[in-house]
Chain length 114, copies 2
DNA sequence: TTGATTGTTTTCCATATGGCTAAGTATAGG
DNA sequence: CCTATACTTAGCCATATGGAAAACAATCAA
């Protein structure tokens, strides 16, 4: 199991903001232009563009400008990488029920972690 | 589909750091004390404690102090909430193959998003 | 060609983040 | 009681983040 996935830093950071998660939700339904995506948010365009930039840097979306219009789409693969990390963690703790039981045996019975 | 899950802000933010992800991986194997967890990291304890604090605030771990020793354990449920959000996103884009196809029809065939 | 649209660039700001050192507290052990 | 252990608290610092306003491009449409 490798320890360092620097790409995940950017992916999780990008997801740690409600505006950006909402953009991901929207792009999950279909590609869209920057101004279409910006409509629901009470935010100046340059501020919104920063979010788009964070999403694109993280690899969660890609975009291409045609004429004046920049169209964005989701990159499923990157979303899947985050999902995979979480699934790996689940695998870890699901696979250690035995060790946990052993650990609990060594605690006095009324000393529970809150 | 609800739009605002403020808890996810903290969860994804907590996961956006390699130190904290490594702590989660370790706690997936078994509960551990702060100093046990800190061993692999070349970092002053107060700095490390901040990471523990971020993890605990996010709900990804819980901890309890007994005597001088603070023992931490993972909170699977919170990890699962993040996983669930990602799975919901997958559901969205897996359920829209038809709409995507329709959208692509409207693009000139050589205008592909990079 | 003249506007209106659709971004983009620049500059600025307040706050958060991730690290440090130094000094403090509280218990377990001898 | 004294000391070592295991955190905690309190400051400090540099950089990143999320927001704003203002001014600049570039293109499409009449």
């Amino acid at each position: 199991m490798e320890n360092n996935q620097p790409a995940l830093d950017g992916v999780f950071h990008a997801l740690a903001d409600p505006t950006r998660r909402a953009v991901i939700e929207q792009l999950g339904r279909s590609p869209a232009t920057v101004s279409e995506l910006a409509v629901p948010f009470d935010m100046a365009l340059p501020s919104f563009m920063k979010h788009i930039g964070v999403l694109e840097d993280s690899g969660l979306i890609s975009s291409k400008k045609v004429g004046r219009v920049r169209t964005c789409q989701i990159k499923q693969k990157t979303l899947t990488e985050a999902e995979t990390w979480l699934e790996e963690q689940r695998a870890v703790w699901e696979g250690r029920a035995d060790r946990l039981a052993a650990y609990v045996e060594n605690l006095s019975s009324d000393e529970e972690l809150s």
